[in-house]
Symmetry: C2
Subunit: 283 residues, 2 copies
């Protein structure tokens, strides 16, 4: 109950963790695709076959150009999408899993699948992914990223819709995300000194999240509701659902002192006054 409650139920003062051993081995692959559709289809094929890579990340051409400029890994700049795929675990069986993943990529139109040849290359690949957001500064002065999630089978559809929505609002959007989870992170590029662009970015952002809900997904995959997405809660949940969440909140937090304006759109029942959320466009 506490996990995901965004500080509205309790202050966690102590956590017991279970340490797990590092995996015995890794196979880190880079799949290069001529279209985003091919890449997302390869993802569906891998997951559909019951393979669960430790990581399955997608980057589209827009972000790739910025990453290559920043880290000079040697990404093919004409690739429309790349997948960064890592299998890990016991050494026995890892080569077989790698071969299956390569086969699924090639069957779905990958023009090439490369394997990180050593730990150094693996670390560089991960550095590119982890610091992708830092490289966005090469593309525009401001950006707004979103954290929607859709069923994995809807990935090809949502990525096409993101492109359409960007065109409609005249906002350039690049993508880097946790494809294995269906968790998308479209990055909306703009200049926050231009009030018109800010308005268009917020409109496009809301439209993308509405589309995630329409696909059977959610407006947050891992970063939460906070105050920014309060206005989506009534679209995601019924009044009964929200009332149940509010009762739970009162049970843990009867005086309403814990994150009073977060996560639930109203908390009239526990006498908390909710302020209108302050929207922030740029992160």
């Amino acid at each position: 109950v506490i996990v995901g409650s965004e500080g509205t139920l309790a202050v966690v003062t102590k956590v017991w963790v279970r340490l797990t051993a590092d995996p015995q081995g890794y196979r880190t692959l880079l799949g290069i695709f001529n279209s985003v559709d091919d890449a997302t289809n390869a993802i569906s094929a891998i997951i559909g076959a019951g393979i669960v890579p430790a990581a399955l990340e997608m980057m589209d051409q827009g972000i790739l150009v910025a990453i290559e400029a920043a880290f000079k890994f040697g990404f093919p700049l004409d690739a429309q999408a790349i997948l960064l795929i890592e299998a890990d675990g016991l050494e026995a069986g890892l080569d077989e899993q790698r071969d299956q993943i390569i086969a699924f990529c090639l069957q779905n139109g990958a023009c090439e699948v490369r394997q990180a040849k050593d730990a150094k290359e693996r670390h560089l690949l991960w550095k590119c992914r982890k610091q992708a957001f830092g490289a966005v500064g090469r593309l525009s002065p401001s950006y707004c990223t979103q954290d929607g999630v859709v069923p994995r089978t809807k990935l090809p559809y949502i990525l096409r819709r993101i492109t359409d929505i960007g065109r409609k609002h005249d906002i350039r959007i690049v993508n880097v995300f946790h494809a294995g989870d269906g968790n998308i992170h479209p990055i909306l590029l703009f200049d926050e000194r231009d009030a018109g662009q800010v308005r268009r970015v917020l409109a496009a952002s809301d439209e993308i999240l509405d589309e995630c809900i329409a696909c059977g997904g959610s407006v947050t995959g891992e970063h939460g509701i906070g105050v920014e997405k309060l206005h989506f809660m009534h679209k995601l949940f019924t009044t009964d659902d929200l009332a149940a969440m509010e009762r739970l909140r009162i049970a843990f937090n009867p005086t309403g002192r814990l994150s009073p304006s977060k996560m639930l759109p109203t908390s009239a029942g526990c006498g908390i006054e909710i302020k209108a959320p302050r929207r922030r466009a740029a992160v």
Copy 2:
């Protein structure tokens, strides 16, 4: 939150489970001891060394006689206590773990440690343990078992106290329990046609559970509070703790229809009338 709520919060209609592979191997041991103290000290030594057997069960002489009469395994009838210990997991390392367990038993006064020689003997040993309660019919017409739990280091102490309490109330008590968890199951033997015995059994039973609380344990290790142990809740928890549990109950169960008389001693806050618990002596 739902786990352990004894049906007071929700009706579970669907459960997702993770299947785990069967262990590759087992080592099943029978440690024979001349005293209950020696057996409980061996348990402390095993657990203290960081070994976590899949099972670590204790039976005292009283229950052993009944089990032997029922299943004819060949238990030594003069043993004051036996430990049934099973290590499992990957074959590699299992022999070493077995040797460590044997050494800890012998260091703590075991007169003998036997290993189940094949799957058939292992199954018979487990049958003896699993059906121990059925064998109690050979000892008395009725029995009342308890489900206390104490820190493992307090096992020698609580077993001595159980013997004392039995003597004080003139009730014979035998023991079979999950020693590895500190979860005791004293079996109080009596004849429920004798009102005086019933009164004495209930008094002894309550005294044992009070002793568990005094040791820093609880009145239930795995079977729950139900209605039988409602009168202990004020001894286990502060008024604030109980109020928090009641608020949680109201959050999930605002109409009070789910197990209204179970687990929490009062539920005045949600307008539920709690009947006085009906005590049952014999199970």
